[in-house]
């Protein structure tokens, strides 16, 4: 089965097509912040490069967060539209899972850290398992200091990956036993998305387009203010 993967959770936007043969073609643009402008032409380009018609796609995979809200929505809205039009299922993968996947051969604990802006980061911890990684904590949002304190309390070494880890490297990696993965791995990639989604597709772990939910981890500002006002 061919899978179309759309990745737009961070400042990078990307698209990949692949299946049991691995990734057939992919395209990414970092630093663009123009997700909506770039994504549709990228899909067209990648299909062409892979010599694949969109009608051949059997599943649409998206990164459902956590990440930058507007970017995420561009990817998820596009993915839902394509899946609905093709009448194919979807697979939603977390940005943090996608960051941990390329460093799966590390025997250290992995901390996937996404820049959440407003002086906060999203993160989760992973450990190595045969064939990949396994998430050992729930995705969380907090300050780099919160994450730093958590890291300090844990035994053993940690490998940090993600644009949040890069941005707050000074704060986060000044403890012994904590190392930062290369900046080339700082953004989740559409290639990883297609690979992870393919493994799930084999187990038929997919959902309908209307069942895909974004992982915001943060309430809209108005809702936060409202709860404070009502004391709930």
């Amino acid at each position: 089965m061919l899978i179309l993967g759309l990745e737009s959770a961070t400042a990078q936007v990307g698209c990949a097509i692949g299946g049991h043969e691995g990734v057939l073609a992919s395209a990414h643009s970092a630093r663009s912040k123009r997700h909506a402008e770039n994504l549709t032409p990228a899909i067209e380009f990648v299909c062409h490069q892979a010599r694949v018609e969109l009608a051949e796609i059997g599943c649409v995979a998206v990164d459902h967060g956590p990440g930058l809200f507007t970017g995420l929505r561009v990817g998820v809205a596009s993915g839902k539209a394509i899946a609905q039009a093709l009448r194919v299922p979807m697979i939603a993968v977390s940005s943090l899972d996608l960051l941990a996947f390329p460093v799966r051969f590390s025997n250290r604990r992995i901390a996937a850290v996404v820049d959440a802006r407003r002086s906060e980061v999203f993160w989760a911890f992973y450990r190595q398992v045969p064939g990949g990684v396994q998430r050992i904590t729930e995705p969380t949002v907090g300050s780099p200091d919160d994450l730093s304190a958590e890291l300090l309390a844990l035994p053993g070494d940690t490998l940090m990956v993600g644009d949040g880890a890069v941005r707050y490297a000074d704060q986060l990696s000044d403890q012994p036993g904590i190392e930062l993965a290369g900046a080339d791995l700082a953004h989740p990639s559409a290639d990883s998305l297609v690979q992870l989604a393919h493994a799930r597709a084999l187990r038929e772990e997919w959902v309908r387009p209307d069942e895909v939910e974004l992982l915001y981890l943060r309430k809209p500002d108005a809702e936060i203010n409202w709860s404070t006002r009502e004391g709930v």
Partner: protein, 343 residues
């Protein structure tokens, strides 16, 4: 294609998508004027507790609502997916995060179906709401476009040819209704709330100022809002119904007065209303009688066509497609997009 081969004809079926503010909408319109379906899912209840539209909440709701709304629009139009000939979406002006949901969805659908994508200006779409319901409307027409975000007097000279005659220098008319309604404790949205309460009030009870009435075609409503607040403070005995009715009278007076003068000056053949505030019952009544008095062909779109919907987006998209062809797939959203003006 050459200009002699138009990109759209009477059989072209356009799927329209509208997500610029707090309505998630999709519609199918054939040939630019035959509305096959029009589905609107309003988020007004979601935003009511905050007294206004919260952009992040609106964007989140659009992502959840849009796909089912499109599916429903296609089913109601009796169409299979592959039968759409073009996909049009509002790309501005509006809330950028909300616009991007609609634009991304529309471009993705256009790509899958292999049909043109058309970016539509929301204000132009409002102009087409009128033509959808009254295709015989004679041009040039004077259009008074009043909503929560806009107060515009537009000379529509031909399809795609507009002149901006006047706009608000501060608050939009709909914004004034919302703010005054909030102050009077009437809830949100303010337009329908004031309309309802004013029925029991005397519109001549309080003489609120008609700002900038004499000069030009620009509007100002923030002074009026302040006068209402000052009046209520000084006269706590004034009934809410009288205040609401007198406030509404001042807004309607200014709007209708400038619209008819603008219509005369531009040599319009017709006058029409558009935008959410065009659902106001007093404005509708007074606008129509002004048309009759001055001998203009007057037209009021139905209430459903005044508020944001996707049928008007599909109709405007059909005309844009016919005139200019498809929009590129790297089109983004522009929250401050202006009406393409000529002359």
């Amino acid at each position: 294609m050459t200009p002699t081969e138009p990109h759209a004809d009477a059989t072209t079926r356009v799927l329209g998508i509208e997500t610029s503010c707090d309505e998630t909408a999709a519609a199918v319109v054939t040939g630019g004027n035959d509305v096959r379906s029009s589905v609107v899912s309003s988020q007004v209840d979601i935003h009511a507790r905050y007294g206004g539209v919260v952009p992040e909440i609106a964007s989140r709701a659009h992502v959840d609502l849009l796909t089912p709304v499109i599916a429903q629009a296609l089913v109601e139009a009796g169409m299979a997916d592959g039968e759409v000939d073009a996909v049009a979406a509002t790309n501005g002006p509006g809330l950028v995060g909300s616009l991007l949901v609609g634009v991304s969805t529309a471009k993705a659908l256009a790509l899958v179906w292999g049909v043109p994508f058309v970016a539509v200006n929301h204000l132009e779409a409002h102009l087409y709401a009128t033509l959808l319901e009254d295709p015989s409307l004679e041009l040039p027409a004077l259009v008074l476009l009043v909503s929560g975000g806009h107060t515009l007097l537009i000379a529509m000279e031909d399809h795609g040819r507009y002149r901006l005659l006047g706009s608000t220098v501060d608050d939009a008319a709909g914004e004034a209704f919302d703010k005054v309604a909030r102050y009077l404790g009437l809830g949100y949205p303010g337009g329908p709330a004031i309309d309802r309460v004013a029925l029991d009030g005397d519109p001549t009870a309080i003489a609120f100022p008609r700002a900038m009435r004499g000069d030009g075609f620009d509007f100002s409503f923030s002074g009026l809002k302040t006068s209402v607040i000052n009046h209520v403070r000084k006269h706590p005995e004034a009934t809410t119904a009288d205040v609401a009715a007198s406030f509404q009278e001042a807004v309607v007076d200014t709007l209708v007065d400038k619209a008819r003068r603008a219509a005369r000056e531009m040599g319009a053949r017709s006058m029409c209303l558009g935008g959410g505030v065009a659902a106001n019952s007093v404005l509708r009544e007074r606008f129509l009688s002004a048309c009759v008095e001055d001998g203009f062909h007057g037209f009021l779109p139905s209430r459903a066509m005044c508020t944001d919907n996707a049928a008007m987006v599909a109709a405007a998209g059909w005309w844009r497609l016919r005139a200019d062809g498809p929009s590129p797939l790297d089109t983004g959203a522009d929250p401050n997009l202006r009406l393409p003006l000529a002359g």
